[in-house]
């Protein structure tokens, strides 16, 4: 378990942050130039299609971070692993940011395409509920900081929240929604032309790197906070 000692982890985190910092701007410039300049316009939407290159990856990231947080919380609740608690706590803000980003960019896309900023259809509403669950998570961390029941409350929130994840994913197939069905399927071919898939996945890489960067910085801060508390105790 030596590898997981806080002192060693900080060294690895610093190395990783440095690595991401060194390549981030290069990847960002490549990603943005593909998304904004090189990629073609859509036959129907024109330049509006470029919003998709931020909207879709941020929605994916929002969903996957919440799933990771929920699983982490449940494992922490059952097996009491301190590291997992810090892991979940550091993931929450960046997940909330990307969920909000996907809602805002979706709204910006919806106005010129559908003709409305917002519609109460199943996909949009379930995404809003996901955002609320992120907020609940963060509020619970703040309010019940000292409470013994914090893991219990967090796992209740994550169970309630994780049920929402498949609902978001399949809402466009189960019910009639204004939102279009998924273009990219895990199995089977996608209905996005390949010249538009390149910038999409490049932007996904950019946003993932940004996510990792913010997460590691937050994680490091949390570890330092714990170390400080231990020093006080001595």
């Amino acid at each position: 378990m030596d590898f997981f000692s806080f002192g060693k982890i900080i060294v690895y985190i610093d190395k990783f942050i440095k690595f991401i910092n060194s390549i981030f701007f290069l990847v960002l410039i490549i990603g943005l130039s593909f998304a904004l300049i090189i990629s073609p316009i859509d036959y129907l939407q024109g330049d509006t299609v470029r919003i998709m290159y931020v909207h879709v990856p941020s929605a994916w990231i929002g969903l996957s971070i919440f799933s990771m947080m929920a699983i982490g919380t449940l494992l922490n609740f059952v097996f009491k692993i301190k590291n997992l608690y810090l892991f979940v706590k550091s993931l929450a803000p960046i997940g909330l940011l990307f969920t909000c980003l996907s809602i805002v960019t979706g709204s910006l896309w919806g106005k010129p395409t559908w003709g409305t900023w917002w519609a109460w259809d199943a996909r949009l509403t379930s995404m809003l509920i996901l955002m609320l669950f992120y907020v609940f998570f963060i509020i619970a961390f703040k309010i019940f900081k000292e409470s013994e029941n914090l893991p219990k409350i967090l796992s209740a929130i994550s169970i309630l929240g994780i049920v929402n994840i498949p609902i978001i994913k399949y809402s466009v197939e189960w019910w009639s929604t204004l939102h279009q069905p998924a273009s990219i399927k895990i199995l089977g071919s996608s209905s996005i032309h390949s010249s538009m898939l390149v910038p999409l996945f490049l932007m996904l890489l950019v946003l993932l790197l940004y996510c990792a960067l913010i997460f590691l910085m937050k994680y490091k801060t949390e570890i330092i906070k714990i170390k400080k508390q231990n020093i006080k105790r001595l």
Binding site: Y43, S176, S183
Partner: protein, 141 residues
């Protein structure tokens, strides 16, 4: 390996999961109708009594060569390839609204075949491609 404490925590989690599922089923059966953002013209046709003066959303394809426009209003036929609905609307339509594309109209039913719309939304499908690609596809038809 599973100690008593861990077992009690697992029990807590399972009970929360159970309650959540019950809650979800309850919500689902109560909201069944409201979850659908729009109805199709055939669904409207099936309903026994029509609720005049209540708002309703209908979605479908705009029928080819059915848009008729004059100074005051736009009139078109919304279809799901089984039943058709005549829609009348005055106001600006979204850019992507055109024939043979999806649209959702919000408004009041006059009778089962006639709807006065307050709002029209264009529906976008899941296909994204550059204009050249679209031409190639059309030529291939």
């Amino acid at each position: 390996m599973l100690t008593k404490k861990i077992k009690s925590r697992l029990f807590f989690i399972l009970s929360v999961v159970f309650i959540t599922l019950l809650f979800l089923i309850f919500v689902y059966f109560n909201l069944k109708q409201n979850i659908l953002y729009f109805k199709t013209p055939s669904e409207i046709f099936k309903v026994d009594e029509i609720k005049i003066n209540s708002k309703i959303r209908v979605g479908g394809m705009v029928k080819k060569d059915s848009i008729k426009q004059n100074n005051r209003e736009i009139k078109f036929i919304l279809t799901d390839y089984q039943k058709e609905l005549i829609v009348v609307y005055n106001g600006a339509v979204p850019n992507l609204f055109s024939e043979e594309r999806g649209a959702v109209v919000e408004g009041k039913l006059n009778d089962k075949r006639y709807l006065i719309a307050d709002r029209i939304l264009a529906k976008h499908d899941e296909n994204y491609m550059p204009p050249e690609m679209k031409k190639i596809l059309e030529n291939a038809k």
